[in-house]
Symmetry: C2
Subunit: 356 residues, 2 copies
Amino acid sequence: MDQSPPRNTSVTVADVAHKAGVSKATAARVLGGYGTVSDRVREAVTAAARALDYRPNELARSMTTGRSGTIGVVVGDIENPFFSLAVRGITDVARQAGFTVILINSGEDVGAEKAAIRTLLAKRVDGLIVSPAKESDVEHLREAARSGLPLALLDRGSDALDVDTVIADDRHAAEGITRRLVSLGHHRIAYLTACDTPDHRFHAAGDINTGSVRRRIEGFLGVCREAGLIGMEDWVHVGAATPEQTHRIVTAMLQSAHRPTAIIASDSVIGLEVFKVCRDLGLSIPDDLSLVSFHDADWTSVTTPPVTVVRQPVYGLGETAAKLLVERLNGKGGEASRIVLRTEVVDRASIADAPV
Amino acid sequence: MDQSPPRNTSVTVADVAHKAGVSKATAARVLGGYGTVSDRVREAVTAAARALDYRPNELARSMTTGRSGTIGVVVGDIENPFFSLAVRGITDVARQAGFTVILINSGEDVGAEKAAIRTLLAKRVDGLIVSPAKESDVEHLREAARSGLPLALLDRGSDALDVDTVIADDRHAAEGITRRLVSLGHHRIAYLTACDTPDHRFHAAGDINTGSVRRRIEGFLGVCREAGLIGMEDWVHVGAATPEQTHRIVTAMLQSAHRPTAIIASDSVIGLEVFKVCRDLGLSIPDDLSLVSFHDADWTSVTTPPVTVVRQPVYGLGETAAKLLVERLNGKGGEASRIVLRTEVVDRASIADAPV
DNA sequence: AATATAAAAGAGACCGGTCTCTTTGGCTTT
DNA sequence: AAAGCCAAAGAGACCGGTCTCTTTTATATT
């Protein structure tokens, strides 16, 4: 029977104070590291705390200080490499600044996102980093911000929300790759996104609630229009939210008589699925189909051919958002910053001239 | 100037009670959903709460109930697809059961892990899911468990720790693929892991502190011995913790005169890097080198050739650990369960007969 | 109508810290 | 030696909920 230190059933400052023979207030001063205490007393209290295996109760501390030392993070899906990398950026900065992170997945569902915010508010997080599921539905976020809670938006902004925002230059990136495809002679270029609309069809960019994706599609359509290509709205496909759905959409698209000669995939999960369908259908990339994907996932350089991608500074997105938030938490006031991080096209071998 | 509801500077039950004209205790009964109240009073309180935009303070609630509704999760690195998928499994179960998740990365460093546990203990999490960095250094975990905090181990067990544990049948999986390679005539088989030893060299399986990896290496060495291959310890390489290090190790290995004819990669990040080095060196998989990787990452089926992998039920690992923990939290007592989930070899095309 | 019984509401302690305000004690100052 | 001052320690309220215990009110019983 070994039970060395005596089963710590919550030792409190009062217990430590009693053991050290001082008042609760004095013990609290030593343990909490504030106020002034004599060296002799400090040692006595420290010794008593060690002997009793005292563990501070951060919850109780939060009660009076009003700070919980916690930030809430709401992302679409931590399983998606995009978010897991961004979250890594967030947690690194948060830890450095002495905060812990409560993570909630919204599954890109606004209802779940609202519930998440409510939960985090109840847990009294000191700040919030959110990747909003719908730009058009941010009343819950505005309310949180208005009540004075620091809020930073990740990857997706909202003009309706005057808060710190960190996004990538999605429109510019989309314009660049579209221009490149057009100059290679492509007229039938499909854009494929996981975002969905009520009727699962695309009509206009305004239908798309995810800010980053809407800006990309605007860029895509803008360049097409500029190049004299009309009716390109019909080539935007929504609802590729799972590998299965993507498979269905891409297969149908590539088997139709009027099939695209190039596909722009809005994330690496979609890009991967396009690759698989081509293999199954016996189509060659880039001879039969050119492929460009957003997100420089690590595997995109080892396929045959390697995939041309838009490299986003994903870690930096999370890192920057967290830094902005931490600054707010440390009392830095002033205007909300809207930071746009540069993207870069990584040229590999998945695009070529349009087939004749 | 719009400021519809009056800037909620923390509305408390007392405020609601006052507005509704009832006592604090009664208002708390309505708001907290306990005890008995008349319908009339319930409505009055509910209305007052809505009017004042009352938000419960979960922290204060935790003070008295002793439950925080939070579980702490410590993993090596959320950026690694293995962990992000496992964490997804954990968060799904946690949310279902009404818990939120505080996530901390240990970076596979025991010191950081200890700090993480301390932080989580201070935050008074209701339970803990940990993927221990070192099996040999679990005193902090034992102490947490002994103080009555439910603890579940993820992917890595410890005989020294009698707590709920969920792992994969790593040894069996390693035996299977090693046997396959041996039967194809391979004698020079390298095993590559991110785990490290003090001197960055491998001597015996006991050197490896990560349980899952140690079991795999034991399986690997066991089958080799069985097959009459001796001194295979020299073929185990440790310290492939980053793509850069992996690159260095693999390049050196493949450029040596006595180079391996097969490589077993301990995770998909390593597998990917092996692939890249082969491409750079102009070596053909599987003609010049056979490759097997642990973790059926989504990209492994689209490379040329597609990679033969050990498929682990990663989501299920997290899911199961969370379920066990939730059961404990709901008071189910009894023996600690040690669950071993099945793995499966997915045969693709990256292995072949040993070159002559 | 009088009593028993249960339901509804109130009063106030409590959780474990922080923090303000007050008291004590040692040391300087002239 | 008396006054003045500041560091060190103590007393107790407070944060915002929960919960026990007590009192009041409504309903049932004969």
